[in-house]
Every structure is written in structure tokens, then in C-alpha cells.
């Protein structure tokens, strides 16, 4: 028992845990923000996973061909927008089942990235190493004990993630467009009667989700690593979706849930390396399932209550 307290104290007093929480949460926050945008307007988007994957691949591809990781970011974002546009086209214009369309896009993304990986880099598995987006160096702040080690040298994606939360919150709750988004997501018939173009607002929401999810994916590839590996999103799109639900479809809530998930992963990783515990390697699997079980408990309404926009997932067909 004592060694557990010791190990947990070690983890929580180590700045690495906090830095790792931030970096683990960054892709989740960005993708969850994408989910918030899409679902606020009433379009379910389980394709986040696929959009992230395309964003990650586009990032490496652009950086590889131009040598400039910022062009990579642009290409990754473009890929994400294209995927989201496809989802929007099918589910808004053609009233497709949004879950099935999302499933299709996840498969498409896996297929396209796997195919292009072999075609462009000549081998399955992983791409060549490319230049990644440089970290934000805070200079002498790095020498400040504890905080300097956390914040001194972070990826710009981390700042982008938190900026996106502020942006999303202001847009959705403080602007006219946000009011329209919410009304289209809750009662499209009424919004239509008031002269709001339901389709256009939904297109906007879904396409914004492509932008943010692709940024989250690009962080994984050109944020620090500088490489794309097969299926590297590894379910983060689904975790982001869960974070959005736990966060009650609200930008700040989604961010908090993402931080919780990121923190759980960081905690698990740090705990494994605590020599006082001498954990056998398979305990990582037990700890690894905790975020998913938390999600199940929250979705089931045992803790708190999350409520989706009323018209979320229902196609709107104009009479």
C-alpha cells in the first residue's frame, strides 16, 4: 500500500506528468472541438477518427514534398476538409444515415492512407521521417523550476487546441451564427420557418469539424514525431467523440473531458515506469481500459447527465 502512495505521489509531483497530460490531450481537444461543431448543428460525425487519419497523413505528405511542415499542415487540413465535405454532402444533401456515412469515411481514410503510404513511400507501415512543426521555445522561462519544464517547450498545436476551445465557445454561445447553429441542431423545422438556411448552417458545422479534427490528426504526425504510421490515430477519434458527449456537447466540457482522458493516459504511462511498484507489463492493459469504462458509466447517465442536441443525427428534408 505504501509503495502505491509513494508511486502516485512521484507521478503527481513530476512535471513530466503534466506536460504529458497536455500533449496527450491536444489531439483529443482539437478533434472533440470538431465534434462539437458538427453535432451542434445536428449532424453526427463518427468519422472524426478517419478525418484525423487523413489530417495526419496529409501533414507528412505535404512536409515530405515541400520540406516545409507548415505546408504539410495546410495539406492535412485540406484533406480533412475534403473528408468532412463528403460527409456533409451525403448526410445533408442526400439525407444519408450519418452513422453509416461516418463508418464509410473511416474505412475510406484507412484505405486511402494505407494505399498512398505504399504508393508514395514504397513500403507499408510507416513513412520516411519528415520535418515537424517547430516547438515554441519560451527561452529563459524554461529554467523556471517545475513550470518551465511543463510549458517551456511545447508544440504550437497545444496552444492551438486551447485557442480552439475559446474560439468555439465564443462562436457557439456569443454570436448570431452560433445561435443559428444551435437552433438548427435543436429544431430545424422552426429554424427553417424563421428563414435560416438549415443546409448551409449544417454544411458550415460539418466542415469546421473537418478542420479541427484534421489539426488534431496532424499533431500526431507532424506535431512532434515527424512521421506517419499505419492507423496512427489508434481510436483517438472515438475517444474525442466520447469526450464531446461527456462534455455535454459544450466546448469547455469537451476540453475538460479530453484533459481527463489525456491525464489518464499520461498517468498510466508514468505509473508503469515507477520502479517502487515493479509492475508487471500486463497491468498497463488494466489501467488502459479505465477511460473507456468511465465513458460507459457517464454515457449511461450514472454520473451527471449529458444531453445531445435534439435533432442530432436526424437528416432534415425540406418539405
Amino acid at each position: 500500500m505504501n509503495e502505491w502512495i509513494q508511486a502516485i505521489l512521484n507521478v503527481f509531483t513530476n512535471p513530466t506528468f503534466y506536460k504529458s497530460t497536455l500533449t496527450q490531450s491536444t489531439p483529443l481537444i482539437l478533434a472533440a472541438m470538431g465534434g462539437v461543431f458538427s453535432e451542434t448543428t445536428g449532424v453526427t460525425n463518427i468519422a472524426l477518427e478517419g478525418i484525423m487519419l487523413m489530417g495526419a497523413f496529409g501533414g507528412v505528405m505535404g512536409s515530405y514534398f515541400t520540406g516545409n511542415p507548415w505546408y504539410g499542415l495546410a495539406l492535412g487540413t485540406f484533406f480533412g476538409l475534403a473528408m468532412a465535405a463528403l460527409h456533409a454532402w451525403a448526410s445533408i444533401k442526400y439525407g444519408a444515415d450519418q452513422i453509416i456515412s461516418g463508418t464509410a469515411l473511416i474505412l475510406l481514410a484507412q484505405g486511402i492512407t494505407g494505399f498512398a503510404l505504399v504508393e508514395l513511400f514504397g513500403q507499408p507501415g510507416s513513412t520516411d521521417l519528415v520535418r515537424s512543426i517547430p516547438l515554441v521555445d519560451l527561452g529563459s522561462f524554461k529554467d523556471v523550476p517545475f513550470f518551465g519544464q511543463i510549458f517551456g517547450n511545447l508544440s504550437p498545436f497545444v496552444y492551438m487546441a486551447f485557442a480552439s476551445v475559446i474560439f468555439g465557445w465564443i462562436l457557439i454561445y456569443k454570436t448570431k451564427l452560433g445561435l443559428r447553429m444551435r437552433s438548427v441542431g435543436n429544431n430545424p423545422e422552426a429554424a427553417d420557418t424563421l428563414g435560416i438556411n438549415v443546409y448551409n448552417v449544417r454544411y458550415f458545422g460539418v466542415i469546421m469539424s473537418g478542420l479541427f479534427a484534421a489539426l488534431g490528426g496532424a499533431y500526431l504526425s507532424i506535431g512532434e514525431l515527424g512521421q506517419f504510421t499505419t492507423n496512427m490515430t489508434n481510436g483517438r477519434g472515438f475517444i474525442a467523440l466520447a469526450a464531446m458527449i461527456i462534455g455535454n456537447w459544450n466546448p469547455v466540457g469537451a476540453m475538460s473531458a479530453s484533459l481527463l482522458f489525456g491525464g489518464a493516459t499520461a498517468f498510466n504511462n508514468q505509473l508503469q515506469s515507477q520502479s517502487v511498484l515493479n509492475l508487471s507489463t500486463n497491468t498497463q492493459y488494466i489501467f488502459g481500459m479505465i477511460p473507456y469504462i468511465i465513458t460507459l458509466i457517464v454515457v449511461a447517465g450514472f454520473i451527471g447527465k449529458s444531453r445531445a442536441p435534439s435533432a442530432d443525427g436526424i437528416p432534415y428534408i425540406k418539405e
Binding site: I100, S101, G114
Partner: protein, 350 residues
């Protein structure tokens, strides 16, 4: 039954068009990368049907896919999207492997039913969690089954690296009892055709009968078609949602069992790969009809089996995943195809 109506209704046409369009788009992709699509498709066909090994491999791939396709399709019938077939396969395989290691003293006519029941119960219980959460806690089954997939994966990795690990440090379970293993029909080189295909074929018949001829099937369909009307008519929504998920999960669990008792003879952890997602493709192409699903399963298994040969011919085999994605997309947005057909009809009339 009117055969012509059965063969050429709107749904069948949408499936056929979706498959055709996806193959054409894939052909265009091949031309873009400078490969001859005819050569690639010929290689694909040869890889799927060209040799005895290929055909056996094809049937062995189709067997579990028929079951996961039926699983997802049965869920769709009840208005449920079971995206968690993967998790149910994993748990079903785990339980049947565990029971399989215990039944060494029993004759085959006891041990084989026991492992099959264990697999079905495992999958059914895993899926019923999502069914219960949906029926009584209002949690959407898509989210819960995705989460349960991950939990299942972690459980699988835990047990084959710990309590259920065979000596030797490799992440795999001990081998199951000989009496619990399904016999092979024939072997060509290293590939064997196992009798597990008969399990899948029997499941097609059983599910067909359940859907068409039983009260359970009628109630489940009624809930899927219009839950409020069904409830008004005295059918319990909650009970049928849980039951439909359990039946769906039992089929997926059985798919896991077939891999343990007919292919590996042991449990390898979360190796279910893409069976669950393939099940979604198959159920959609097969339009949730048991016979349609069987045909769709053979289509997907053929494409997957042939893809290795296509890769040798210079086209990365991930192309088949793209093809699957396009098919699902087109079936989802079936109004795209309907619109194209109406436009063509109008042009023809003009």
C-alpha cells in the same frame, strides 16, 4: 415467393450499383497510378479462385464474415447499429477458448456444443450490456459498443499476457482440447478447409427462420420499424432491444469461436482484425437479408483473398479497403444512386 421481385428490387439494384461504381472508381485510381486495372482485377480474381488453396482460403475467410455480417444485419433489423461486433468476437473467442481448455475429458459431442455455447454466451452478454444501456439508460449503442470494443481489446491483451498465457512468453493461450477442435474436410499444403463453414451456413438458415417465422423475429422487426407503434401494439421495446443485441452478439461471438476451434486451436488475444467492420459492409451490401449477407460475405472474402495477388501485380492491397469504403458510402447515401437513375430515365424519355 416471386423470384423476379426478390432478385430485382430497388434494394438489390442499389447494392449492385454500389459495388459496380466502387470497382469503377478503384479502376480509375489504378489508371492514375499507371497500372492496368484489367490486369489487377484479373490478378485479384486469380488470387481468389485460381487455385485450390485460394478457394479454401476464400471459404475460410468467408465463414466468420457470414457470422459477423448476420450479427450486424440482425441488429439493423431491430433498428440497432451494432458497431461492436469486434468486441463480441473477442469475448466470444476468449470464453470458448477457456472452455475449450477444460473439456479434454469429454467426448466431442459434448465438448463441441459446450465451446460453441460458451462463445455465443460470451458475445451475447457483451452485446447485451450495450442493449441494456440503450433500453434502460438511453445510451446510444454506437458509443457504448465502440467503448466495449476497446475494453474487450484490453481484456484480451491482459489475459494472453497473464492469467491465460501458455508457457513460453508468447502472448497466446494454451491449446484447446483436441475433442473441442472442429475436424478438417481437406488440406492442400498448409491450408485446411475446416468444417466451421457448416456452422456459418446453419446460422444463415437459423437467422432466416427467426426473422421470417418466429414471434421473436416479428417483434424485433416491429421495434426496428417503428418502436412507438410496436409498443402501442403491446410489444416491449426494452426487452426486444436487449434481446436483439444479445442475438446479434451471439452471432459475433460464434464468429470468434470458429476462429478458435477451426483455425488456430487456441486464443491469440485481440486478433479479430477487421471482422466487425467487414460485418457492417456485408450487412449493408446484403441489405440485412440472410441470403444477401451470405453472398456479400463471399464477395468481401473474395476481394480480401485476392488482394494479395493484386499486390504482387503492383497495386497496394489497401485498395480493397477503399472499395469497401465507397460501397458503404454509396449504400448509405442511396439517394445518390436513385438520383442518377432517375436522371438517366428522364434523359431516356426526353
Amino acid at each position: 415467393m416471386n423470384i423476379k421481385k426478390y432478385l430485382l428490387n430497388e434494394k438489390v439494384i442499389i447494392s449492385l450499383f454500389s459495388v459496380l461504381i466502387s470497382l469503377v472508381i478503384a479502376a480509375i485510381v489504378m489508371i492514375v497510378i499507371g497500372k492496368n486495372p484489367l490486369v489487377a482485377y484479373a490478378a485479384l480474381f486469380y488470387g481468389a479462385f485460381g487455385t485450390k488453396e485460394a478457394i479454401i482460403d476464400n471459404i475460410m475467410k468467408a465463414s466468420p464474415l457470414i457470422l459477423t455480417g448476420l450479427a450486424v444485419g440482425f441488429g439493423f433489423r431491430a433498428g440497432l447499429f451494432n458497431i461492436g461486433a469486434n468486441g463480441q468476437v473477442i469475448i466470444g473467442a476468449l470464453l470458448s477458448a477457456y472452455v475449450g481448455t477444460l473439456v479434454g475429458a469429454y467426448p466431442f459431442f459434448l465438448s463441441i456444443p459446450l465451446v460453441m455455447i460458451a462463445g455465443m454466451l460470451g458475445g451475447a452478454a457483451w452485446a447485451a450490456i450495450a442493449g441494456w444501456l440503450k433500453a434502460y439508460r438511453g445510451a446510444h449503442e454506437v458509443i457504448t459498443t465502440i467503448m466495449l470494443n476497446y475494453v474487450a481489446t484490453f481484456i484480451a491483451n491482459y489475459v494472453v499476457n497473464g492469467p491465460f498465457q501458455a508457457p513460453g512468453g508468447v502472448p497466446k493461450s494454451p491449446s484447446i482440447a483436441y475433442s473441442a477442435q472442429f475436424p478438417n474436410i481437406m488440406s492442400v499444403g498448409a491450408t485446411s478447409l475446416s468444417t466451421i463453414i457448416f456452422v456459418s451456413l446453419a446460422a444463415i438458415v437459423v437467422i432466416y427462420v427467426i426473422i421470417q417465422r418466429t414471434t421473436i423475429g416479428y417483434e424485433v422487426k416491429a421495434v426496428g420499424f417503428n418502436p412507438y407503434a410496436a409498443e402501442y401494439g403491446g410489444i416491449s421495446i426494452g426487452k426486444n432491444v436487449v434481446l436483439a443485441m444479445a442475438i446479434s452478439g451471439a452471432l459475433a461471438g460464434l464468429a470468434g469461436t470458429t476462429q478458435v476451434v477451426g483455425v488456430y486451436g487456441r486464443y491469440f488475444g485481440a486478433l479479430s482484425g477487421s471482422m466487425g467492420f467487414d460485418g457492417i459492409t456485408i450487412a449493408l451490401i446484403g441489405q440485412n437479408d440472410p441470403i444477401g449477407i451470405a453472398l456479400a460475405a463471399f464477395l468481401i472474402s473474395s476481394i480480401r483473398t485476392g488482394s494479395n495477388q493484386m499486390q504482387i501485380a503492383g497495386v497496394p492491397k489497401d485498395l480493397v479497403v477503399i472499395i469497401q469504403g465507397i460501397i458503404i458510402f454509396l449504400v448509405a447515401a442511396n439517394r445518390i444512386i436513385k438520383t442518377i437513375r432517375i436522371r438517366k430515365r428522364k434523359e431516356a424519355e426526353a
